[in-house]
Amino acid sequence: MSQTDMAQMIEAPKSWYMIRALAGIGLMCALLIVTTYEMTFETIKANKAEVLERAIFKVLPGSETKNIFEVNNGEVEKVEGETKNEMKYYAGYDANGQLVGIALEAAGQGFQDVVRMLYGYSPEKQAIVGMQVLESKETPGLGDKIEKDAAFQKNFAALDVSLDDAGQNLKNEVVFVKNGTKTNPWEIDGITGATISSKAVTAIIQNSASANMPVINKNLDKFKK
C-alpha cells in the first residue's frame, strides 16, 4: 500500500465526519427556521396590517376611514379582504366621508436592501402630502435618516406631482437635488451623508408616481365614497 492510500484511509472517515456535522446541523437549522416562520406567520401578518393602517392615516393627514381599491383589467374597483393583486390603492376619507387622498405603497432598491414605503397623494393639491418608510435596512445613523430626518420628511409635505395637459405624464419629474438647494416643489432635498438612500427614495417615488398618477386622476370619481 502506497503512502497516499494510507493517508486516504485515515482521511476518509474524517471528511465524512465533517460532512455529517455540517449537513446534519444545516438540516436541523433549516427545520428550525421553517418551523418558526410557520408559527409566527399569522401574527406577523396581523401586525404588519396594523402598522400599514396606522401609516395610511398618517400619510393622509385628516383621514379617519379607508377603502381599498385595485386595478383589474384596466378598471378601478373596490376590494375587500385579501386578493392576489399586490398593487393596492388605499383611499382615505375624513369624518364627513370626503375623499382626503389616496395612499400608495411603493418599493425599490435602497443602499442595502429593498426599501418599502407608503405615500399619500392629495388629488385636490395635485401633490404628495405625506410619506412613511414601512421597511428598510439602510445604514443605521446615515441611510436610515430617510425615515426619521424631519427636514427630509418636509419634502413630502407638498411634493408636486401634477400631470401635464394630456394627463399621461407628470408635468415635472420628481428629481433629487443636493441638500439645501431645493427651489421647486417637485424637487427632493437630499440628506447629507445619505445621498444614495435619498436618491433611492426619489427614484421610488418618481417611478410609482409616474405610473400611478394618471390612473388615479382618470378614475378619481371611483375613489370617492
Binding site: I25, C29, I44, N47, E50, S136, K137
Partner: protein, 211 residues
C-alpha cells in the same frame, strides 16, 4: 476532547453579570452597545434578543460538541448562531413591529456579535450543557444589564423620558447629543470609568488587608 468539568456554582452565572461583564469588563460587542442604546426600551430589547441567541446557541453548541470536528467548528457555530438570529428576528416581528423597526439592521448583526461566538468557542464547546446554559445566561444578563445602563442614562438626558414616560420636568431642555452616536461614547466612557474606579478601589483595599 478533555473531560469537561461538571461542577458549577453561582459564580458561573454571576461572573458574566459583574466580574467578567461582556461590555464593561471585556469590552466586547461595542457596535450594538453604542448604536441601539438611545432609549431604555431599545437597549433592553437588544439585550434580551442577544441573550436569547446566546443561550440557545450555547446550548446547541454544547450538546453537539462531541459531534462537531474541530476543523469545521467555526462554520458550524456561525450556522447555529445565524439560525437563532433568524428565529429571534421572526419572534421580535411577532411581538412588536415597532421594536423590530427600531432595532433595524442590528438584529441581523447579532450574528457577528463577538460575545456569542466567543462564548461558543471559549466555553460551550468545552463544557456540559447545563454549565454552558448558565454561563450564557449570565453573559446575556450582563450584556442586557450593560445595555440597559447605557439606555437609561441616554434616554433620561437625551429625551427627558424613561421607557417613554416623562421623568424630567417640562423645563428640562433635552441634550440631543446624548441620543446621537456621540452620546453613546460619552455614556460608555463614564460607565467604564465608574467600573474601573470600583475595581481599583477594591484592589487597593485587598492590598491593604494583605499588608
Amino acid at each position: 476532547m478533555n473531560e469537561p468539568n461538571k461542577t458549577f456554582d453561582a459564580t458561573t452565572f454571576v461572573k458574566g453579570l459583574w466580574k467578567e461583564n461582556p461590555v464593561f469588563v471585556q469590552v466586547l460587542g461595542m457596535c450594538p452597545t453604542l448604536a441601539v442604546t438611545n432609549s431604555a426600551t431599545n437597549g433592553l430589547a437588544m439585550g434580551l434578543a442577544t441573550a436569547f441567541v446566546l443561550v440557545m446557541s450555547s446550548m446547541l453548541v454544547s450538546m453537539l460538541r462531541n459531534f462537531i470536528p474541530k476543523q469545521v467548528r467555526i462554520a458550524t457555530f456561525i450556522l447555529i448562531i445565524a439560525t437563532f438570529v433568524t428565529v429571534a428576528e421572526y419572534l421580535i416581528q411577532a411581538i412588536s413591529i415597532d421594536i423590530h423597526k427600531a432595532l433595524g439592521a442590528f438584529i441581523s448583526l447579532i450574528v457577528v456579535n463577538c460575545i456569542i461566538l466567543g462564548r461558543a468557542e471559549a466555553f460551550a464547546s468545552k463544557n456540559t450543557v447545563g454549565k454552558s446554559i448558565i454561563d450564557a445566561a449570565g453573559m446575556g444578563a450582563g450584556f442586557t444589564f450593560a445595555l440597559l445602563c447605557l439606555g437609561v442614562v441616554r434616554e433620561i438626558l437625551g429625551s427627558g423620558t424613561l421607557f417613554g414616560l416623562q421623568v424630567l420636568g417640562q423645563g428640562f431642555e433635552p441634550w440631543v447629543l446624548m441620543i446621537l452616536p456621540g452620546g453613546g461614547f460619552f455614556t460608555l466612557g463614564a460607565w467604564l470609568l465608574l467600573f474601573n474606579y470600583m475595581k481599583e478601589r477594591k484592589a487597593a483595599k485587598m492590598q491593604e488587608v494583605v499588608a
